[in-house]
Symmetry: none
Subunit: 211 residues, 4 copies
DNA sequence: CATGAATGAGAGTTCATTCAT
DNA sequence: GATGAATGAACTCTCATTCAT
């Protein structure tokens, strides 16, 4: 039993080790240019070993997104459950998204790359469905916050799902655009201030005038 | 001379024919899955011919972005030159971006894909520089509009380049996210209303309170 | 037009060149041990070229059998159509099978290997169906000869399809067994006399006693 | 001693357990598609354990044939020793082959597959020699029966080794061909009646006319 | 100019075998 | 003896690019 436990822990650790290597390699080379051998080398394992833990390259790639999507959902739901006031809730939502980015910038960038790429189309149906479900869940939670805020007369009266889409788009847009700028000039990383400002503008943009 | 002219025109027409085919194929398959043979077939030419007009696959891909970036710059500068009032200018700017999308949605999506992809890194330095220059130019024009608006006390006082980055990010984020949603459910195309609303929120978000 | 003709001829010649190389390599190494690179080297082509003419390794392998099966069917039907007398027909049938073997022993051995191997299971459905159809056709033709002979009172009265199966089994059995013996001792090739004797015994064995 | 005995018995039992699993897996997937892990799983052992009992995959595969070849030899020699009359001897010989097939159809098919396959070539020299010796022994015993029968004027006067080869070929040919037909249509198993008829025809075919 | 057959480097993946536990 | 995680060589197939015609 103790042995079984230890084995399980070791297996999990090895999975993490591979995912860590994969994250690095995918981040620096992108999905297509990254080879399984690159990842194996980075993880100090042999190529064959990767396949003991992940069915194929796509699953390995997508598993990175799955983990962060789960984390996102956890954070978003926490916000929804803990906070009552609409404005504060939006504030916390935005903070949560910020935290999520800080938690692991490379993975977030990976996730948005996956989301905006041809690769998404080609994932196995099961994997695609899982990603879709988690994404939808995140968007739904965000939309719920907007719905309540609109009902409370705090946000402008627009379809909450559309507002959620826009917040999500703004998030991914800023992340990808800043990452893209760093391809050209690696020294400048304005992501955090830009993201802050973007969220601030968004909040002002949907706020009801209060007189 | 007349012959030379005609030759040149014909050469240009052939280029356009190839780019049209490339746009279609890249849009439906993405950069990596699209093969030069696919594009040749779509253009009703042989693979070898493509190389008489474009140095390689990447150049062909990037040329699509170059063209639309030129168009964007033309439209943005037009706005900057023709309009004087800050709010109206922003209004026109946003309309221009909207038009640009309508002008050729597939190419715009292509461009943002390129911008947010691994492929960008691997472009030849010359090509990368050209794209960078055009992008910077567009962003600069947008930033100029914000600078004037801030000076005129119409927009909140933040770094105009940051505001430009955010508007651009919002644009690309909405376009990519809606395109991504269509991968999962092809029937729903909410891009236009979502983009409208996004821009509206942005405008409200940077507007100075007027009392 | 002349050009089109020539191209077609050249294409066909190239196909033959590849099949010739494939036959040699498959014969000496068997399906699994033979690599596409081996075949390409033998054909003095690059690996990629093989795929311009054959969809994959299996199709290349099976194409060898398809050609010989077509030839077999041609020969068998010729016998059925030209000859009237039952005994002479059987005589001619057996001669035809002999000729078929002589026509290209390596391919015949290949075909029986395919037929008796795990590989058959894994062919694409279309290819499997084609091989099945041609095999069935051959067996049916043979069975027809037996049916007539039985009706004419010349052969023992047993199910003609069973007799056809047995003749075919005898043919393949002798071919494979002699080939197998040559793996152990390459110098001895008794195939022809053994096949002659086997067919003779078969003929005696199904002949009706005439008194 | 008692302990040593028990250990030996247990070792032998384990070997049998592995061979049983191997037989099943090789039969359903063929040599190449069957993996050592498949066999280990079927035997409810770990892959590493298989290597404690068999040097490698080939030896495991060949060991199946060795066992059945030993059984065949035992049965054939029994017939040769017990029976005196030539016709009855042939009758018993044929019955013995039939029994051998019934004893374990899967292994017989395996053995003929090995015999007619590329794999045979690649066995270790020692293993190949062992198989060769046992095969030769079987064929020699059969040939002896024919030799006596010819001397007694009961069978047609042909080289007894050739007759033995033909009987063996007929046996393997029918077994493989019927197995092959079952790949295409699993429901039809005509092996036994076909084998009976084939042997009957063979017996008639080599019988001397009696007047 | 246009063609398209040919190239060949390179990728993902499998699996027989080993060896530390 | 038994395990099973890890290895890494080897395979098939793809496709951007070239070049003789």
């Amino acid at each position: 039993m103790g042995i079984k436990e230890r084995k399980k822990r070791e297996r999990e650790r090895r999975r993490q080790q591979i995912m860590l290597a994969a994250k690095r390699v995918f981040s620096s080379k992108g999905f297509n240019r990254a080879t399984m051998e690159d990842i194996a080398r980075e993880a100090e394992l042999s190529p064959g070993t990767l396949y003991l833990y992940f069915k194929n390259k796509e699953e390995l790639y997508a598993s990175l997104s799955l983990r962060i999507l789960n984390y996102i959902n956890m954070r978003l739901e926490e916000v929804k459950d803990r906070e009552e006031d609409a404005d504060l809730r939006l504030e916390r939502l935005v903070e949560a998204m910020h935290d999520v980015y800080e938690f692991d910038p490379l993975i977030i960038i990976n996730m948005f790359h996956l989301q905006s790429s041809e690769t998404l189309k080609r994932l196995s149906p099961a994997l695609k469905a899982e990603i879709e479900t988690l994404s939808r869940q995140a968007l739904t939670t965000i939309a719920d916050v907007f719905r309540d805020g609109i009902a409370a007369g705090r946000f402008i009266d627009h379809h909450p799902v559309a507002l959620a889409d826009i917040l999500w788009s703004l998030f991914s847009g800023v992340v990808l655009w800043e990452a893209s700028k760093r391809i050209i000039d690696d020294s400048k990383d304005y992501l955090k201030p830009t993201l802050d400002l973007a969220f601030e503008i968004f909040q002002r943009g949907i706020a009801r005038d209060r007189h």
